[in-house]
Subunit: 204 residues, 2 copies
């Protein structure tokens, strides 16, 4: 009775096709500028087929976000793996990786981290517990705890410090993406400044 398994595999394949198409289009044209019909056109199915695989457009978005988070986690995990460095350097590299990830996939970053909840009023809010977002954040926390134990940043509540770091790196990433009309100083200089200022501010 392998027939059921094959069908499930086929369903999963189409799900992935939809997800990939939507992801690429969202990343290229922005969430608001991609309609369900456009996605359907691209994958050569009728628009309503998408609704057999995803609850609605924002669900499609959420699932893409989970994938994007996954990529970010991989990147940060790789840095953590080559743990030759002192924890504080590891932390610093992780911060830089986060920002560069955002700037490399601005539209994915947008839909994952920037797009405000207000756009999804009335939509089901995906729970944080168990999400990729939680895992991504745990990486920061782990590096913070490590740096704290090594005496390289001041002792304090790990959650507070992790969130402070997140605020800083999200801040610069979001601004660079959303305010391209603003006369920022040279990008690398600003990123450097944000990272260094934050680390210095957290030192013992």
């Amino acid at each position: 009775m392998g027939v059921q398994e094959r069908r499930e595999r086929e369903k999963e394949e189409l799900r992935e096709i939809i997800l990939d198409a939507a992801s690429e289009m969202f990343a290229q044209e922005g969430y608001a500028n991609v309609s369900m019909r456009k996605i359907a056109d691209k994958i050569e199915y009728s628009p309503t087929t998408i609704y057999l695989y995803f609850k609605d457009k924002s669900d499609l978005l959420n699932q893409i976000c989970e994938e994007t988070f996954g990529k970010l986690i991989e990147t940060v995990a790789a840095i953590e793996a080559e743990d030759s460095d002192a924890p504080i350097n590891c932390l610093q590299k992780g911060m830089r990786a986060y920002i560069e990830f955002g700037l490399k996939y601005p539209n994915h970053y947008e839909i994952t981290f920037i797009t405000p909840l207000a756009d999804f009023l009335g939509k089901e809010i995906h729970p944080y517990e168990g999400s990729m977002g939680q895992k991504a954040f745990e990486h920061i926390t782990r590096q913070v705890v490590g740096s704290m134990k090594a005496g390289q940043i001041k002792k304090g509540d790990a959650a507070t410090i992790s969130q402070t770091i997140w605020a800083a790196i999200h801040g610069v990433t979001a601004l660079l993406i959303s305010h391209q009309d603003f006369p920022f100083v040279e990008k690398e200089i600003l990123i450097d400044s944000v990272i260094k200022t934050t680390i210095k501010g957290l030192q013992a």
Copy 2:
């Protein structure tokens, strides 16, 4: 021949009525959830009338943003005025005022600072030069230069430092607004941490 002046006054009044209605609705329900027809209903005019006063929906938004910016500037200017304090304290108060402003008017903050450009692809990007945004930023810069001269923060490029500060305060504000599902530590503690970390990171 005061008739022409009265007409101009009347036009300006209706413009203000539209702006106020839209501003309130955007702030209450979010930009994406307010349609031109809903605004028209509220002011008891036909939807197309709005287009006689504003180029399109995003123009309406931009003009509201200018107003919102204006309010923020007033708040920050008031702090600057009572310059009894040391520049660094002034700067710190300004940062707090910015964040609190954002949290008090989350939807206005959203449409002014968070909403990504991608939502306005193809729309005319309002120039930064001469905008309220420029003025608001100049306040930060002024306080930075003051603190630098007073030897209370390290010497360096004022633009870079100002933008670093902006990144930090925008980061925490944007996160608190957009990620209400995230288990943040107590709001006041986080805000404190961001401000203190940034200031400490910038000290000489």
